[in-house]
Symmetry: C4
Subunit: 269 residues, 4 copies
């Protein structure tokens, strides 16, 4: 069987929809496996279905690899698919047993398979690059505050500021404003000046986050507006073009009239 | 009495305003019924008023059904009305006693009856369809994280991740950022890697919610702007049309002048 | 002394600035009075300053009343001023001792006195009317949920849903997402179905609040945009007017030229 | 060595990039110093690197001061740099030991050194001045509520409303909605009317904060839109200019034609 035949089969809407159906079914079976009661009653069935569906996915991936070869990996979505299938094939025992829990990530293949979901995710990812540097800035602020916090409060409050990692987690918690006041009041009891630290951090983090948000809104709006403005400009352009055509016709008629007169004048009388 | 007469009565502003008044009065009496003190003193009165008003509502609905017949159910608001009245007529005892508490839903008929409220609710519902797929995406993310959470933390923290339902509730709680840090710190004590789980979920959920919000703002703004642009385009169009009319008149005058000349030239001298 | 003289004195910038200075000074003295240590040391002085400044404010108000008479109360800001001064003159003893604490409201006169602050507050108040009906809707939702909550959870959780007032407070707390999960989990233990109640309320309240916010943004943006569009329209209008003037001049010249020809032709040769 | 030579060296991209590298390296070493384990193993090395890098920074600053003299301090970023270096040179012992923790602020020099970060920070600072007066208003509201809170609840709840400072901290906590309900419920037990105080404050603070946010969004959008509108206006202007040129050419041709006729008529026949 040649690869063109294979490509037309694997990309056929019916095959694609079956794959979507299998992903959805697999999501349900993996979900059902979380219930011990259902597992003791239907466990063998669920695991069999799971294995069969995984088999289909592997065959699908192998065919696609055979058809598209190197260009398969050029699409980010294919790489995403490939990694999810690859994880499922790893032996999930011993230290890697956590990977069994990650099998549900196969459900995320739905995102690639359903065009509307893929579009939304691509839109979401689209605005990320413009946020890169504001995240770098936020990380810098986090790092500086984490170092200061660890040095100043680490000895007295090791559960919150014991090391850089703990401090960063605490700062992230404070940024979400969850329970920040309890932490601030407790730390203030041992280091009264800490209030400056907490208020500065909350104001800086809120203001920066706010601006991340504003950056996205303004970016999205700006793109939308440019599209609208281009449309409006086209409409105005065609209004002006109409007027121009109109005036040209009138002027041409005038010209012809004058030409006729000119010719008459030139005729010997 | 024919249905046209009935329709003109039931749709008469005075009748409509009386219905609004009765809904408001009924809202107050049902509210008063929540107080045991008031119930022991005025209970019989309140329940009588309640029954009478319900009677009026039933009569109103029956008349409307008689007048509009099948087309009555074509309006979503009528279906809404009908369900609320129907619930009120169900026997509210035994296992269904919870339905007694739902009688207050009759107050929501105010939304249909007061045009301004109806307009706001219609506007709110209007932007929901555009959010359908982003909700599908969010549900998928919730489902995947719930399965992972149940498998990985379910055994150690059954109160939060005992089954899929509990995990979903906990994830919703974390999405609202309420008490997420306590949960994260407790789970981290048994599963150190769980921090990746919590931070990833918070960032993904916040970012997606943020984009739901942005989608609504941008949609609303875009509609508003299209309307504005159309108005501006009309204004520019009429400016250009004015100019065109003006030039045409001038050109016509020129043409007539030339025509007169032409005729003069043609006259035998 | 006639009222015109008085008006020119009371509205004189120097007098106005002195009043602003006195309001600021009074704000500081009332603030200092909250400290028992400062009160025991400087109490007499502070109270004397307080009484003197209040005297000046009363004189200012009396003069303004004498000058402007009935029209004084036409300005909302004057009414605001008057009430604050009036409160300060009430005997603040016994049951009314709470009014002593409200003397600090005099600081709010700064808002009226400083134009920039007054402008901001007027802008803030400006967008309130457009929110009236969405607040009515939100109140209706609150009322309905409060009645349902009181009836269904009141008996088991009187501290949260004991009566309509308690339920409304709890709902407001849930709307701010503060500690909602604890309440929901506790209530769920006695009424498992309550989860529907809490999730529905959170989603409806968030969505409505979100739309309040969006309404303000869109309103503000729309006003701004209309102003911009009007400016752009003016600019385009003047571009078109320029072109029109230009073409008219050219056409007039053409017409004159033709007229000269016509006259030549008419001349008897 | 003359200052022009020095300036070209110190501003050379390679030198600048080395400085950026040193700042990053120093950030890492200061971060590592927070770990006692690493300090006991590599402490001497880390402190040596730290001292050497600080030396380089001091030399850099001295050279820049020598090159630019008075104009060095005209740039806010240079002042920022200078203060950070100056803090690092202060003796960090005894009461000033807290300054050792502030050495990490040197990392913030990255912001100045990396153009993209500097641009973001300048943008963030750019929208601050427009918020000045709304912050003044918010401070006034805070002050008034802090005085009222201290007077009314200070005696019963000294940990929250003991003095003006404590009250302000509590109000800030309430503004972030963190744990506000616990405070409100506790205070309500001793002062039932306090609910008015808390609800009023939350509504006023949220509404004002919301408007701070809206002010930034609208400002940013307005600037963006003015730029877009200007571009659109230019495009429309050039459309109209094209039409004008076109018509002028046509009218000129007409004019020439008529002129030729006129000349012919004038010729003696």
């Amino acid at each position: 069987m040649n690869t063109v035949r294979l490509a037309s089969i694997i990309e056929h809407p019916k095959v694609q929809n079956s794959i979507i159906g299998l992903i959805a079914l697999n999501s349900v079976t993996i979900g059902l496996e979380t219930s011990p009661a259902i597992m003791s009653a239907w466990g063998t069935w669920l695991l069999t279905i799971d294995a069969v569906i995984l088999g289909v996915f592997v065959v699908e991936t192998v065919i696609k690899l055979a058809v598209y070869r190197g260009s398969y990996f050029r699409s980010g979505w294919n790489v995403f698919d490939f990694i999810i299938i690859a994880i499922a094939l790893l032996p999930a025992s011993g230290a890697l047993s956590v990977l069994r829990a990650l099998r549900i990530f196969r459900s995320l293949r739905l995102i690639k398979a359903v065009p509307r979901l893929r579009f939304i995710v691509e839109t979401l990812l689209h605005s990320l690059p413009s946020l890169t540097w504001i995240f770098v800035l936020l990380s810098l602020v986090f790092y500086v505050f984490a170092v200061v916090g660890t040095k100043m409060f680490g000895a007295d409050h090791p559960e919150w500021f014991g090391d850089l990692g703990a401090s960063m987690f605490t700062l992230f918690q404070i940024m979400t404003l969850e329970g920040w006041a309890d932490i601030a009041r407790t730390v203030q009891a041992t280091t009264p000046l800490s209030i400056v630290y907490f208020l500065t951090f909350i104001l800086m983090a809120s203001y920066t986050t706010l601006n991340i948000f504003i950056a996205i809104v303004v970016n999205t709006m700006s793109e939308m507006q440019q599209r609208e403005n281009r449309q409006q400009l086209d409409a105005i352009g065609s209004l002006i073009a109409d007027e121009r055509t109109d005036l040209h016709r009138d002027l041409r008629l005038l010209k012809e009239q004058i030409q006729r007169m000119e010719e008459k004048l030139s005729q010997p009388r």
